[in-house]
């Protein structure tokens, strides 16, 4: 691996965009560097399911010609990205990491796929994920299991596992993940990158293999907050093909990247996220406490808040998610269960066993949680917590019950639909990443981005890359 190649692949989207726009860097040269890096490293990291070598180079040549003749499209023009393998890509196999969809080739792009293409980005390939965006790193699913570039023996998180690993290792400049209970923020935290779950309705879900219609979100995963803002700008906005898509106007996210948190109030529900619970890592809590202190030092007011119904979130979220997931997969679970991996088959089957009254009750409890958050958001601008209750576990310690046992710090925001970001905030003594989660008011992604950006610019963990 040459130094030049590494330098190119470690550029941020913003840095690369400036070089591409000023014609100091060619999209073809940049894309070739990424393809070479994938060739050299991904045998070990296993972050890609499909690499689109020739197709990506062809797109890069097209972008180069456009830029040279003055048709510059914006900050993603000529930028190599990759998609979690549940985003439909016209003519390109989209598997959701399952034998059930092993040979599925969509006839149409997902709305987000099309928007990123329209912004001029180069699609390097399709990324590994947990089967159907659930379960865990399951060797029985028939697809590669992405590894954590910070320590190959540890999981990169999920379900957007390949997205987390590839962005952190410099195998793409940005990615889209999907999130039903934490599948964007979890891998972002575990891989020391930035992951944003936007407000429900902000980004179209059309053409994305569903897990749970009322909880699914799509969002960017990148190395920096600034890059997340760039990707969000390209994909946000009303889509008539998604019935839950919002018509709320899309703000200029780059304009929100002000390095200042003065005037912002950050609420911390310590009773839930910092509880004296043996299932929560004290090391994670200590690192996040330091991060909260940093936010305070930077000018934010940090206050304690109470959201009593949070204690029900961990019960409501899986009932809704698994019931809806079973409904979508019922036919295949009945007719060809052997095509599902062991982990996801077991969890989807559980979704068939909840009663309708339990599903209805979970939805009603969700309303209560939503209302309590809305009340608190009248007093604070953001709510902060660790992204994950524990650092990334080793593969050997993960089984079908792992995610069910530990408290979910991300799931509550899938229930409420609020925007929530994970930004790197430190490492354990063993060098495993820890993320800070910041959640905001519905459609107030600008404030979420502003706080995360300010924090990142001061802590500067983006200067540290994994040892690959």
């Amino acid at each position: 691996m040459t130094q030049t190649q590494t330098e190119l692949c470690y550029l941020t989207i913003r840095e690369a965009g400036r070089l591409l726009q000023s014609r100091k860097l060619s999209p073809v040269e940049l894309t070739r560097a990424f393809l070479q890096r994938i060739e050299q490293l991904d045998g070990t990291l296993q972050s890609y399911i499909t690499v689109l070598g020739e197709r990506a180079l062809s797109e890069a040549r097209h972008a180069e010609a456009e830029i040279l003749r003055g048709d510059y499209r914006g900050p993603l023009h000529g930028v190599p990205i990759a998609l979690k393998d549940l985003y439909d890509t016209q003519g390109i196999r989209t598997t959701a990491s399952s034998r059930v969809m092993a040979n599925r080739v969509p006839a149409e792009d997902a709305t987000t796929t099309a928007r990123l293409a329209a912004a001029g980005s180069i699609l390097l390939g399709k990324l590994a994920m947990h089967e159907f965006a659930l379960g865990g790193p399951d060797p029985t699913c028939g697809f590669p299991l992405a590894r954590n570039p910070w320590n190959l023996g540890h999981i990169p998180g999920g379900s957007s596992s390949g997205s987390g690993a590839a962005v952190a290792a410099g195998l793409c400049m940005g990615s889209l993940g999907s999130c039903t209970g934490g599948s964007i923020r979890g891998p972002a935290s575990y891989c020391s990158i930035v992951g944003l779950k936007p407000t429900y309705g902000r980004v179209s879900r059309y053409g994305v293999v569903p897990l749970s219609w009322t909880l699914d979100h799509c969002g960017p995963m990148t190395w920096t907050v600034e890059d997340t803002a760039i990707m969000l700008q390209a994909i946000a906005g009303y889509d008539p093909k998604d019935p839950t898509s919002s018509r709320a106007p899309v703000p200029d996210y780059a304009a929100s990247l002000i390095e200042d948190v003065h005037g912002l109030t950050v609420g911390v529900p310590r009773h839930f996220f910092f509880a004296d619970d043996p299932n929560i890592s004290p090391e994670t809590l200590a690192v996040v406490e330091t991060a909260l202190k940093k936010l305070q030092d930077l000018g934010a007011q940090v206050v304690e808040v109470k959201i009593p119904s949070l204690r029900y979130a961990g019960a409501a979220q899986p009932v809704i998610m698994l019931s809806e997931a079973f409904t979508y997969h019922a036919r295949n679970l009945r007719s060809k269960p052997e095509e599902f991996g062991d982990m996801v088959r077991a969890r989807f089957r559980t979704g068939a066993l909840f009663s309708s009254a339990e599903y209805v009750q979970a939805q009603r409890v969700r309303n209560v949680i939503k209302r309590e958050f809305a009340n608190v958001l009248q007093r604070v601008d953001l709510i902060a917590s660790p992204t994950m209750s524990n650092p990334p576990p080793e593969f050997k310690h993960v089984d079908v019950m792992t995610t069910a046992r530990v408290p979910s710090f991300t799931g509550p925001y899938n229930l409420t639909g609020m925007p929530a970001i994970s930004v790197p905030c430190g490492f354990t003594a063993k060098g495993l990443p820890i993320g800070l989660q910041l959640a905001g008011k519905p459609f107030d992604e600008p404030t979420v981005l502003r706080a995360a950006y300010t924090f990142q610019q001061h802590v500067r963990l983006f200067e540290k890359r994994p040892p690959v």
């Binding site: 899986p318 009945r334 559980t350 068939a352 066993l353 979970a362 969700r366 309303n367 639909g417 008011k441």
Partner: protein, 67 residues
Amino acid sequence: MPESEGIAVEQLRGLAERAGLMMKHDEVVALKPMFDHYAKQIKLLFEIDLDAEDMAVVYSPNWDPQA
């Protein structure tokens, strides 16, 4: 939770069959810990007095925290 606690395996098999899932005995046994885990959690959901709280299965993206 010990094996003897929670739902009986035969009862679990009955629930699975009602859902159209034909499962082998060892698959039903393997599913029991997860079912028992969630069943315990679901009890919590019914502890809360929701009175006439409405149900919104289709979640609206356009909600206003000031409302």
